[in-house]
Amino acid sequence: MSDVAVAPSGANVAWNPPARGIVGMVCLILAEASIFIIFIVAYIYYIGKSLNGPTPKDVLSLPIFTSICLLSSSLTVHAAVSALRRGRQRLCSLWLAATVLLGGIFLAGTAHEWYDLIYNHGLTISTNLFGTTFYSLVGLHASHVVVGLIMLSLALWFSLRGQMHHHHSEKLEVLSLYWHFVDAVWVVVFLVVYVLGR
């Protein structure tokens, strides 16, 4: 082997492969989506197959307010990313804080719902197939919300300390992709659990 260095000829093609963070997150979302699909299939398969009560119709009420909160947090996180991209750090902090707040409200809503189901209606994961599939599916989603909130709070912390800059906007975008995914999953979970399953 010899060093045959050939000078690149004139028309050098621009070389901009996609950002690895975005590609990685898309892959993670694909893997996570397939986990969710299995839980959703299990939920749909077991609708109406519980041998004893309580049934979804008896105990579930539509969590409309908290759902609106979660879905609108997708908009706020998007606003945070575009604020950072334009170099407006304080605005970015504000939008991130709004996102964390809205996500927190959603989580509090879920906690309240579960408390009500467990203590007032006696529905636990081992009560019947509805309990089994409901707590596992909604719980799996809620655990993803928790992970997202931890990451977003970290981002907010860095942003408030003035450590987040324009060149971090791609990383924040990767995080926002995850958050959009969590919100999109909620749309499906909402439709399956509270509309189709009720």
Binding site: M1, P18, R20, I37, I38, N128, Y135
Partner: protein
């Protein structure tokens, strides 16, 4: 843009080798444990998988000794149950997956002209969590009820059908070891697959368009894509099983209205794509090795890519052919029969392309090439018995028999393991700087070939005679005895051949001839680096202008890029006509 691959003279391998020799072993250990270098992680994956290959191979030998003669009592039924469960689980999750990801880890950045994977620390994390999964699985032998007898090794079979895994039927923690180790290794698998995709998409060197990507990274891209959609369901099913066992939920609890068949669906939605996750990297090796030893470019590159992607998609809709005996109904059976048969079309395209690559080539019968040719032949046979089993009525007759065991071992050993051996002979010089002994290699090949055919050709027969899988012994008057004797003796020959291979690896590391950067006169970028490559791979980022950058470099008068159809081709055509 022209090919530009600077060769790093300043850090020739001798100097690097000299430095490592002076290191204390503790320093070396620290270096390997804390490394994020894709080559070191790749070799750790391979070493770890080889260790488990020997362990799970030993388990297979114990089973074959037990089954060699009728009414044998070499091992107890309980130990036998543990053996086939551990053998299957280990071979799939702690040999197949890590060894393939190991080769991927090592080769992909080198082949695409990158300095490392896209996420080096995630890479290390994925390896160590997978490794921990394997250790956890084997801890089951000493954990739980201790070393007496079989400890609490999992004994529910590698697909762990419900309700056998329920707390009532599997008390203690044996099933939990199985579940948790698979959950952990699943996390590692998804991490590595994600890393491979991000590396291939985002880390390619300038000029390496997707249409110039070597076929090995292309096939790893498909394998990784399959990993996301296959390992996800497995992870979900394992979470459900844990919930059932620990929190009293009822997913697979038939007493409370749950469904045991649902577990089968979830497991095989993972299980069948898993076969393709394992076999696609074997195809990937064949795509690199067969052209180099035929001295011809691969035949039908676009068709190979399309066939691989096609296999990826079709493999997602064939899982229930593992469940024909459940009684799915005529419509479902028909769908899965047809889907399963359809997958033989893209697979056939690949076989014909390999044959066309061989056709008219100056074939060099190195050990590596001989394993690759055996792979072609054996994979064809494995595919043919696969088509037989895809016919639902045939499967009703032979499902769960030794015919099925023979079929899938023909794929896993005859195709995948043979291609892995081929890959070892081909890339060992790159990884260590030394050639493997060709003489020992030929012995290894012929011994393993004979052992393989003794075991797995004859294993079809007791299956046809009605011998079910997973029985720990049988009566003498069944007429299975002679066949089982042949199978077991073949297993012994394979074990001897494998030991020869291990000996070759160790001996050649110290005494093998020095390989140099490019011993096979090959064409992909990994051969442009010294052997072993320095930690940074390429001193300068290479630039490529065709699928075979080293061919271009060696034949500047007749580069591949002249034959590429694209803007430069059209420009050249225009210049010529002008």
């Amino acid at each position: 843009m022209a090919t530009h691959i600077p060769f790093d003279q300043a850090h020739a391998p001798e100097e690097i080798g000299d430095k490592t020799q002076r290191k204390l072993w503790l320093e070396v250990l620290h270096e390997w444990v804390t490394t994020v270098d894709h080559k070191k992680i790749g070799m750790m994956y391979i070493g770890y998988a080889l260790f488990f290959l020997v362990v799970a191979g030993f388990e297979a030998l114990l089973m074959r000794i037990q089954l060699a003669v009728p009414n044998n009592s070499f091992v107890s039924p309980e130990v036998f149950n543990g053996l086939f469960t551990m053998h299957g689980t280990t071979m799939v999750f702690f040999v197949g997956m890590p060894i393939l990801f190991g080769f991927g880890n090592y080769l992909i950045p080198l082949m695409i002209g990158a300095r490392d994977m896209a996420f080096p620390r995630l890479n290390a994390f994925s390896f160590w969590i997978s490794a921990f999964g394997g250790i956890l699985l084997y801890y089951s032998y000493i954990g739980g009820s201790g070393l007496y007898g079989a400890g609490s090794a999992p004994d529910v079979g590698w697909f762990a059908y419900a309700p056998l895994t329920a707390k009532v039927f599997s008390p203690g923690h044996s099933t939990d070891y199985w579940t948790l180790s698979l959950l952990l290794t699943g996390i590692g698998t998804i991490g590595t697959a994600l890393n491979i995709v991000a590396t291939i998409i985002s880390m390619r060197c300038p000029g390496m368009k997707m249409s110039r990507l070597p076929l090995l990274p292309w096939l790893y891209l498909v394998t990784s894509g399959l990993t996301f959609v296959a390992v996800g369901p497995l992870t979900a099913a394992q979470i459900m099983l844990m919930l059932d066992r620990y929190l009293g939920s009822h997913f697979f609890d038939t007493q409370a209205g749950g469904s045991a068949v649902l577990w089968m669906h979830f497991f095989w939605i993972f299980g069948h794509p898993e076969v393709y996750i394992l076999v696609l990297p074997a195809f990937a090796f064949a795509n690199e090795i067969i052209p180099v030893f035929s001295r011809k470019a691969i035949f039908g590159y676009p068709a190979m890519v399309a066939a691989s992607v096609g296999i990826g998609f079709v493999s997602l809709s064939v899982w229930a052919h593992h469940m024909f005996t459940v009684g799915l109904g005529a419509a479902e059976n028909t769908f899965f029969v047809l889907a399963t048969m359809a997958i033989s079309v893209p697979t056939g395209i690949k076989i014909f392309n390999w044959l066309a690559t061989l056709w008219g080539g100056k074939i060099q019968f190195t050990s590596s090439m001989m394993f690759a040719i055996a792979f072609l032949f054996q994979f064809l046979i494995a595919g043919l018995t696969g088509i037989m089993l895809s016919v639902a009525p045939f499967d009703w007759q032979l499902g769960n028999s030794y015919f099925v065991v023979a079929h899938f071992h023909y794929v896993l050993v005859g195709a995948i393991l043979f291609m892995l051996f081929s890959a070892f002979y081909y890339w060992y010089p790159k990884m260590t700087g030394r050639m493997l002994s060709e003489k020992l290699g030929k012995w290894h090949f012929w011994l393993f070939l004979i052992g393989f055919h003794l075991t797995f050709d004859f294993m079809h027969v007791p299956g046809l005679l009605g011998m079910p899988r997973r029985i720990y012994t049988y009566e003498a008057d069944r007429g299975w005895m002679i066949w089982n004797m042949i199978i077991s003796s073949g297993a012994l020959v394979q074990a001897v051949a494998t030991l020869l291979f291990v000996y070759n690896m160790v001996w050649s590391y110290f005494k093998g001839p020095v390989a140099g950067p490019d011993p096979w006169d090959a064409w992909t970028l990994e051969w442009a680096t010294p052997s072993p490559p320095p930690s940074y791979n390429f001193a300068e980022t290479p630039e490529v202008s065709s699928r075979r950058p080293l061919w271009d470099l060696k034949h500047p008068d007749d580069p591949d890029s002249d034959y590429e159809i694209g803007p430069s081709h059209r420009r050249r055509a225009k210049e010529e006509s002008a």
